[in-house]
């Protein structure tokens, strides 16, 4: 319970940025902790929980039924202002959902840390326990696809 009280608010803010609706964000955080406690994982740290929550949110987005609901409820105001790449401000759920159909999990996770949580490459490498070069490669691999989808989303309005 202590980790829920301590880290829950930070995770709720992260879930809001990513899912862009309050109800699903709250649900994602709540069920994450319920599952963690069910597994007996009472002591955790924030980077670990960031990863767990990222996986959970991406899984929600991959599931077709959840995806439809999330896209319907998407409220871009909850995303906040992008600091690292304002041209990717429009990177929304629709784009992420499309990417998640064709892009591998680790790349999706990297994208979330970079563009939703605004982690630096070193920081992403540390959280994901891979090299900085791997992080850069993952971002490079998806950059063209991402730019094209983001532009479509901007045109969509």
């Amino acid at each position: 319970m202590d980790s829920y009280r301590r880290y829950g608010p930070a995770l709720l803010r992260k879930a809001r940025r990513l899912l862009q609706n309050e109800e699903d964000a709250r649900d994602a955080v709540q069920t994450l902790f319920m599952d963690l406690f069910a597994r007996g994982e009472l002591s955790t740290d924030l980077p670990y929980l960031y990863r767990a929550l990222t996986h959970r949110c991406l899984n929600m987005l991959r599931d077709e039924k959840n995806r439809a609901r999330l896209l319907e409820r998407e409220s871009p105001a909850l995303r906040g202002t992008a600091r690292i790449s304002p041209d990717l401000q429009a990177l929304g759920l629709q784009t992420l959902a499309k990417l998640s159909d064709s892009v591998e999990e680790a790349v999706m996770e990297t994208l979330v840390y970079r563009f939703f949580d605004e982690l630096g490459l070193e920081e992403i490498a540390e959280v994901m326990q891979v090299s900085r070069k791997t992080v850069q490669n993952r971002l490079n691999r998806v950059s063209a696809q991402l730019a094209a989808l983001a532009e479509t989303e901007v045109q969509r309005g």
Partner: protein, 225 residues
């Protein structure tokens, strides 16, 4: 993708800074950066000013059995599944032809039970009534193999004022256990009492009342406050 020269303080770093979790050297670096960056200060202010109240956390998986509203023994389930298999095989061919495997699995188990419990974000454990807009989570207790024995899975169906609702749909990834949280939550409104049911009956999509799903159903009723 080129790395940008202007790297902001990440949300993770600022969250850890706000929680007082950074080492002294890293904390100093963050403070230096904050002094120079209004955008980073704005994010920190957002973190510190966020007064959202977390949803309460149901006490799950602490090993303490809780009172469930309705229980059904495995003997009954086994008999029901076997009977359903026989009837269905006689009437249908195709997607449900794997019923024999249900019977095979179900008949080998004794002493288990399926149960549901609700958790209200307003009043917590064991709610007996609901208010307009009150949000609930469903907790399911079932033995680990139960879903394997039911390829069509479990369905949550609610009955209110003669109408049928499926607010949570199916949960294909639900792993049975003790008070496992069903993915998602639901909000209740309306003036009539609500019967919340978990069913593994193939008649779920057509039933007008919970009784029509028996014995492949467990239900609990919430009265309107």
């Amino acid at each position: 993708m080129a790395e940008l020269s202007h790297e902001p303080l990440s949300w993770l770093k600022l969250e850890r800074y706000a929680l007082g979790e950074l080492a002294a050297e890293e904390r100093r670096q963050v403070e230096t950066r904050l002094a120079l960056s209004p955008a980073d200060r704005a994010v920190l202010a957002q973190i510190r000013g966020d007064e959202s109240v977390l949803p309460p956390l149901p006490l799950v998986a602490l090993g303490s059995p809780r009172r469930e509203r309705k229980r059904i023994g495995w003997a009954a389930i086994s008999a029901t599944v076997a009977a359903a298999a026989a009837v269905t095989l006689a009437l249908l061919r195709g997607p449900v032809s794997d019923f024999p495997s249900r019977r095979q699995v179900a008949s080998g188990v004794k002493g288990g039970e399926v149960a549901i419990a609700l958790y209200s974000e307003r009043v917590g454990e064991e709610p007996v009534a609901f208010s307009q807009g009150e949000r609930f989570k469903l907790l399911v207790t079932c033995p680990p193999w139960f879903l394997e024995a039911l390829p069509e899975g479990l369905t949550v169906v609610m009955f209110q004022g003669g109408e049928r609702f499926f607010p949570l749909g199916k949960a294909p990834s639900l792993a049975c256990g003790n008070r496992v949280a069903w993915p998602g939550a639901f909000t209740l409104d309306g003036r009539a009492d609500v019967q919340v049911c978990l069913t593994w009956s193939a008649r779920a999509a057509h039933a007008e009342r919970a009784e029509q799903l028996e014995p492949e159903v467990v239900c609990t009723t919430l009265k309107r406050r």
